[in-house]
């Protein structure tokens, strides 16, 4: 079943086509990888989905509903959570309060919000840091807080924007475990990632873009062997060996 799809997505910044005619479909329950070199438009696609930028043209469908014109908060309410590449903790609030604020998206009373927040913190293994002020967390914990907060809004689709960047090897393994755990909970995931270890091991399918255009799509193996992808990442001479 197709949970989410974008059709002919185009975004111009001035004269530059940051995203140029990108289309893809995401099956319910899969981990969908989005890769591409720096500046290829991955984060822009996320920003278009969550409506931080208006699309120049194209359509975004979620649950067979056209959400292209939704505002950011409505996109979240409809069931799409996201994290930010440059983490945005609510700095002067405690970790628990960060998650409670997010939990209010789905529950009404403070009591319910607190319960949901504590449960989500437990699930994301951040409960031991719940009383810490968010800005005093380490970068690894901040990335985890981003995921926790997004999860507290009970998304059906989670957009992860480079949640593994800047983590040390043991944190990286923990992050992979968490992402798989979230998938096992029935949440569909679209992940943007630079670290190939992460994206190649967990993705069910991968979509590669460069200069805002699709260059390859398929299983991790297919994409890794695709000459266009190798060229984009390593340069032309490696592609033809």
């Amino acid at each position: 079943m197709i949970l989410f799809r974008v059709e002919n997505l185009i975004k111009y910044f001035g004269g530059l086509a940051a995203v140029n005619n990108v289309s893809f479909e995401v099956q319910k329950g899969e981990i969908f990888g989005l890769i591409g070199p720096n500046g290829s438009g991955k984060t822009t696609i996320f920003n278009l989905i969550s409506s931080y930028h208006p699309v120049s043209s194209g359509k975004i469908y979620f649950n067979d509903q056209d959400i292209t014109a939704y505002k950011t908060h409505k996109v979240c309410k409809s069931g799409i959570g996201r994290t930010f590449q440059v983490v945005k903790p609510l700095g002067r609030l405690s970790v628990l309060d960060n998650v409670i604020a997010a939990a209010f998206a789905k529950v009404r009373t403070k009591h319910e919000a607190r319960d949901l927040a504590l449960e989500t913190l437990e699930f994301c293994e951040l409960a031991h840091r719940k009383d810490v002020i968010a800005k005093s967390l380490s970068i690894g914990e901040r990335k985890r807080l981003e995921i926790t907060r997004a999860m507290a809004t009970k998304p059906k689709l989670l957009l992860l924007d480079e949640t593994a960047a800047g983590l040390n090897p043991s944190e990286l393994d923990a992050a992979i475990d968490l992402i798989l755990k979230i998938r096992d909970r029935g949440v569909t995931i679209i992940i943007v990632e630079h670290i190939m270890k992460v994206i190649m091991t967990i993705s069910d399918r991968i979509h590669a873009i460069n200069f805002g255009q699709t260059i390859a799509q398929g299983t991790p193996k297919e994409v890794a062997d695709n000459p266009a992808v190798i060229e984009a990442y390593l340069g032309e001479e490696y592609a033809h060996r």
Partner: protein
């Protein structure tokens, strides 16, 4: 002890006019209570929601003029202003917020400053309605200050309780989220424009109520008084900053301090300079004594610099820091 402090303070405030008969001190406390209301309003929009307003006088003056016009044009009691003042202030806040919440940070602050000036000019120029610079004069209802005192106290308690309730609810969490990071707040499903409007309208409501009270109590208003940038808008900010931005009791403490400082300057350090000038006959001191009353804005400026340097979170926000500084000194005193 900290838990009971508000109740102790409330008990003292209830008993105050019965114990202290001096109407000057009663007057000062009425002003303090009025500033608690305005400060709480400012704290809601600026302290908790992070949308710094430089234009509280727009809401204050609207509330005051509502009461004044009900009395002078409709011939009703100015106390009806207490019923409508908050809502007319919201009527000003609503279109302003609707348009200007597209602006962020300093740009919103500048827009609110402009709102302040627009309101002042309208009140000055529209003489048919507002009597312009001549102002509005009404007969005070009570000769004694005690009724005003208790009304002001009730309003102050209402605003503090209201802030506390709101900040413990979903709204409170949303306001704080917006203050901390507006983009993150949006991604958490928070309609930031909507909740900023709620916050602004609560602030406007409280400030408008305070304005109506001011009209009833003072009996006279003109545009320069109630739409004053430095005596209302800036004072509201100072009450918030000195007391502690984003704390429930910050505006309470701030109101006490700021009214004291204001009065200190207005009376020329309680007549100190006048006395000194008279004693020494110095030309310089005579000039100082003459102008010191108007120098309170300078005093405010110095106070803000000191507070931001020493207590960046205000008196309430840095209370533990103050205690830590004071307690070792006490211990040393006991030891020696």
């Amino acid at each position: 002890m900290k838990k009971y402090a508000p109740f102790v303070l409330l008990a003292i405030l209830i008993a105050f006019p019965l114990v202290v008969q001096n109407s000057y001190y009663q007057h000062l406390l009425i002003l303090v209570l009025m500033w608690v209301v305005i400060g709480s309003g400012w704290n809601m929009i600026a302290g908790y929601t992070g949308q710094v307003s430089f234009g509280d006088a727009a809401f204050f003056g609207t509330g005051a003029y509502t009461a004044g016009l009900i009395a002078s044009k409709l011939g009703l009691s100015a106390w009806w202003g207490m019923a409508f003042g908050g809502f007319t202030a919201m009527a000003v806040a609503f279109p302003f917020g609707w348009i200007c919440f597209r602006l962020r940070g300093a740009y919103f602050a500048l827009a609110s400053l402009a709102l302040n000036e627009i309101c002042r000019h309208i009140a000055t120029i529209w003489e048919d309605l507002t009597e312009g610079m001549a102002g509005i004069l009404i007969m005070p209802t009570f000769l004694s200050k005690i009724p005003y005192y208790y009304i002001a106290l009730a309003l102050a308690v209402l605003s503090v309780v209201m802030v506390q309730i709101v900040m413990n609810s979903k709204w409170g969490y949303y306001f704080l989220s917006i203050r901390e990071d507006q983009d993150a707040a949006e991604s958490l499903g928070i309609d930031t424009h909507h909740y900023k409007m709620i916050s602004l309208n609560i602030a406007a409501f409280l400030t408008g109520m305070a304005g109506s009270l001011f009209m009833n109590y003072m009996g006279f208003i003109d545009p320069e008084v109630v739409f004053s940038l430095h005596d209302i808008s800036i004072m509201a900010i100072l009450v918030g900053i000195v007391g502690g931005v984003g704390t429930v009791y910050g505006p309470v403490v701030g109101a006490f301090v700021m009214v004291a400082v204001h009065e200190f300057f207005r009376t020329g350090f309680f007549g100190f300079f006048k006395g000194l000038a008279g004693l020494t006959g110095s030309e310089f001191l005579i000039v100082v004594a003459k102008y010191i009353g108007q120098a309170h804005v300078l005093g405010f400026g110095i106070l803000v610099v000191v507070v931001i340097l020493v207590l960046p979170n205000g008196i309430v926000g840095d209370w533990n820091k103050i205690i830590r500084k004071l307690v070792p000194m006490k211990n040393k005193g006991v030891a020696t």
